[in-house]
Amino acid sequence: MGVAKNPLPQIVLNALVVTAAELFLKIGARETANMSAGPSWTGITGLASIWTWLGMVFLVLSLFSWLYILRNVPLSVAFPLSHVVHVFIPLASWFFLHEIISTTRWLGIALLIVGLLIVAKPFARIEEKLL
C-alpha cells in the first residue's frame, strides 16, 4: 500500500462517518430521553435504542479510519483538517434534526472553512500538478 497522494478524500470521509455517528447517538438519546428505568443521567438507558448502537458502530469505524489516515498523513495536517466535523455536525443537525444555528455559530463555521481551505490548499495544488 503506497502513501496517499491526496489525503483530503480520506479526511472528508472520516468526518462524514463521525457526523453520522453523532447524529445516530443524538437520535438514540432523544428516543430514550423519557425512559424512567435505571439511573438515566448516566446515559445507560440510551442503549435501549438501535440508533445508539448504530452510533457506537460508526464511532468505532471512525477510529479505524482515523488510524488509517495517520498512517499516511502528517499529524500537523491531518489533525487540523479533521476539524471539518465542526462544519459538518452543525449543518447536519440543522438539516436533519432541524436545530437552530446561532449567528455566532455561523461565524465560527465561516472561520473554520477559511482555516480549512488554507491548510488544504497545498494538497489541492499537488492534485492539480498530478492531473
Binding site: 498512517r71 452543525p90 477559511v114
Partner: protein, 113 residues
C-alpha cells in the same frame, strides 16, 4: 468552582493531544514493522491516554456547560500542529499555522451557543 475546572480542562486536553501523538507513532511503526509488538507499545498508551481525556471531559460536562468545556478543545488544533513540528519534526509552514489558528477560533465560536 470554575477555577477548579481549569487544571482538569488542561489535563483533559493534554491527554487528548498526547493520545494523538501515540496513535501517530503507532501508525508510523506499523509502516515499518506491521502490527507488531512495536505498534502496540504505542497504540495501547494512546488508547489509555484518550480514555483519561474522555472520562475527564465527561466529568467536566457533569458540572459545566458544553459551551464552556468544548471551546478548550479548539486550542488542541494549534497545540498539535506546533508540537508535531517540534516532536515529530514535521514540516509546518506559517500558512499551516495560520490555517490552524483560524480553525481553533472557528471551533471556539461554533462551541459557544
Amino acid at each position: 468552582m470554575k477555577l477548579f475546572a481549569f487544571p482538569l480542562l488542561f489535563i483533559a486536553m493534554l491527554s487528548f493531544v498526547v493520545g494523538q501523538f501515540f496513535f501517530k507513532h503507532a501508525m508510523d511503526k506499523s509502516h515499518q514493522h506491521g502490527f507488531s509488538a512495536e505498534f502496540y507499545r504505542f497504540f495501547i498508551p494512546g488508547i489509555l491516554s484518550m480514555t483519561v481525556s474522555f472520562f475527564l471531559t465527561l466529568g467536566l460536562l457533569q458540572h459545566f456547560d458544553l459551551s464552556f468545556v468544548y471551546p478548550f478543545q479548539g486550542l488542541s488544533v494549534i497545540i498539535v500542529s506546533a508540537a508535531a513540528a517540534v516532536i515529530l519534526k514535521e514540516k509546518v509552514t506559517l500558512q499551516l499555522l495560520a490555517g490552524a489558528l483560524l480553525i481553533s477560533l472557528g471551533v471556539v465560536l461554533v462551541s459557544f451557543s
